[in-house]
């Protein structure tokens, strides 16, 4: 398939590409920090979408892969002295391996039972890491500042990390699109709609959903490593926030699950809303409640998410809003 001739691919790709480019051109530290958060959530939400939107398995523990992969990658940087891009790759690979093991158990469950199991996996992982001494137990790990020297000091290292994140998120978008348009992706949609029927039609559901889980888990591992490296430390309560898992899920819903553009728009919108609420005088103390209210309104009245709504409203735009 020729990616460059696909109308559904461009809006998503350009959105991410340009937002990163703008930051690199303007070179402001605060803008970079904001963009880092937004891009990170785009990457997390889009990777969750591969399992949740394409395959129909709602994972409440997506953040486990961010946490465990990130911990491992951070460990490789700070304790083993690996360069950050290799360490991030290590984090991603570990996440996928873990997804294979966890998936062998929990992917046999369906619907709400799967969702519940992923909540359990997240909590078990958090509790385990809090007790795991090589990862610093409940206090976590700190980066040795000499680790930044390799990139020309801490300031340069932050820019380098940002560029890596940008590339990773672009990769998430490309992979998401390729999966969606492939035969494999068609099989995933069939599993989402009706797993038993899909199997009767020849879809190897156990294998295909495991593959989707592996792909979905790979990117949070990469992103986690970059995030913790940027922060300079990692600790259990930061790495396995159930709240954050839910926020990622909300972003996917907000934009529209199963669509390439959905999680991107959702992550943008959610982060902008949060940023606005946190700085506004009136809403500052009520930002959580207001976000909750917005979510409730979306769930009740716009269940297809923003992009889903546009697709329904303007069928002509569909080929651009995949």
């Amino acid at each position: 398939m020729n990616l460059w001739r696909q109308p559904g691919f461009w809006p998503s790709f350009l959105l991410v590409f340009l937002s990163g480019l703008v930051v690199l051109v303007l070179r402001q530290d605060t803008l970079r920090e904001t963009a880092f958060t937004v891009l990170m959530f785009i990457g997390l939400a889009s990777s969750l979408n591969i399992l949740m939107g394409y395959t129909g398995y709602v994972n409440f523990g997506h953040i486990v892969f961010f946490g465990l992969g990130g911990y491992f990658g951070f460990f490789l940087v700070s304790e083993m002295g690996w360069p950050v891009y290799l360490a991030a790759l290590g984090g991603g690979v570990l996440s996928s391996i873990l997804a294979y093991i966890i998936g062998a158990a929990v992917l046999r469950l369906r619907g709400a039972y799967f969702a519940l199991a992923t909540i359990g996996v997240n909590e078990a992982a958090r509790a385990f890491v809090s007790n795991f001494e090589p990862f610093g137990g409940s206090t976590g790990l700190y980066v040795n500042f000499s680790a930044y020297d390799r990139y020309g000091g801490a300031g340069q290292a932050l820019w380098f990390t940002f560029i890596l994140l940008w590339l990773v998120v672009l990769a998430v978008i490309v992979v998401s699109y390729l999966v969606k348009r492939s035969r494999f992706g068609l099989g995933l949609s069939a599993i989402r709609e009706d797993e038993d029927t899909a199997m009767v039609m020849g879809v190897n559901a156990p294998l295909d959903k495991t593959k989707a889980f592996l792909i979905s888990a790979f990117f949070p591992g990469l992103i986690g490593t970059l995030y913790f490296f940027k922060n300079g430390n990692v600790e259990p309560d930061d790495a396995f926030r159930f709240q954050m898992s839910l926020e990622i899920l909300v972003m996917v819903m907000l934009g529209g699950k199963g669509l390439l553009l959905g999680p991107i728009v959702g992550a943008f919108a959610y982060e902008r809303l949060r940023g606005y609420l946190l700085t506004s005088v009136i809403f500052k103390n009520l930002h959580l409640a207001t976000s909750g209210l917005v979510l409730l309104l979306i769930v009740l009245f716009v269940p297809g998410g923003g992009v889903g709504w546009l697709r329904e409203r303007f069928p002509k735009l569909r080929r651009w809003l995949e």
């Binding site: 348009r181 492939s182 035969r183 068609l186 099989g187 949609s189 069939a190 989402r192 709609e193 009706d194 038993d196 029927t197 899909a198 199997m199 009767v200 039609m201 020849g202 879809v203 190897n204 559901a205 156990p206 199963g258």
Partner: protein, 247 residues
């Protein structure tokens, strides 16, 4: 023999849904499977295509034992099925539904060649104008046709059709019968469950009759229609009896 079912039994807890079922189906034939409601017909299909394993017995497809294989493995070996209770993939378009059949059936087509196969199958069942609609928006008769198109697009050696005529009005039945005849003429082997006697009798080479999980008769349509056991089995169902005797 394309399909051999040997001493197949299936139990659900205390319920003996199938007991010692034996039959063979030759390539290129159409076999009708009839029997009162709850006789175990759909269960027999489920055992044949691997939705669940039989409690006892063997299923042999094109010389290979497929007993206990998962349903996707069975599908790949060239066995496709249209469900009694239609099961469209609602959020996919009609074309995409059929493409799933082509992509994951016997020939495992790529997505682009699957699309043209799908259109072929949709044309054959008369659903091509709906190709870009969501499957959710179809009516029951159209959904039945979709089931058939999906099965056809898999280009199977053997088609299992489970009551594809049920719930259709007379003119829709006539149309569907026509479609099935053209499918037969293309040389597909078909095993079909049907309640509408006239239809099965007219189209099948062979008929087997299931009652309370057991095969009580088999043979060509004439023999079966005149078999006293068959008439007795349907006596609990006056309407059926009347239809059968009217043959």
């Amino acid at each position: 023999m394309i399909l051999q079912v040997q001493e197949v039994s299936k139990r659900f807890g205390g319920l003996q849904a199938l007991l010692d079922v034996n039959f063979e189906l030759a390539e290129g034939q159409i076999m009708g499977l009839i029997g009162p409601n709850g006789a175990g017909k759909t269960t027999l299909f489920n055992v044949i295509n691997g939705v669940y394993p039989p409690t006892e017995g063997q299923v042999i497809f094109r010389g290979e034992k497929i007993t206990g294989l998962p349903s996707y493995e069975v599908a790949r070996r060239g066995l496709a099925r249209a469900h009694q209770v239609v099961r469209p993939l609602n959020d996919l378009t009609v074309r995409e539904n059929v493409m799933v059949g082509a992509c994951f059936g016997r020939e495992r087509h790529s997505r682009s060649s699957a699309a043209s196969l799908a259109d072929q199958a949709l044309t054959q069942v008369g659903l091509i104008d709906r190709a870009d609609q969501f499957a959710l928006s179809l009516n029951v008769a159209q959904k039945k046709r979709l089931e058939l198109a999906r099965a056809l697009a898999a280009r199977p050696y053997l088609l299992l059709l489970d009551e594809v005529l049920a719930g259709l009005n007379p003119s829709e039945i006539a149309g569907m019968m026509e479609t099935i005849r053209t499918i037969r003429d293309q040389g597909f082997t078909i095993l079909m469950i049907e309640h509408i006697m006239q239809a099965v009798m007219s189209i099948s080479d062979q008929i087997i009759v299931l009652d309370y999980g057991q095969l009580i008769a088999g043979g060509n349509p004439q023999e079966v229609a005149n078999n006293p056991k068959v008439i007795e089995a349907y006596l609990g169902d006056p309407e059926m009896t009347a239809r059968l005797l009217a043959e």
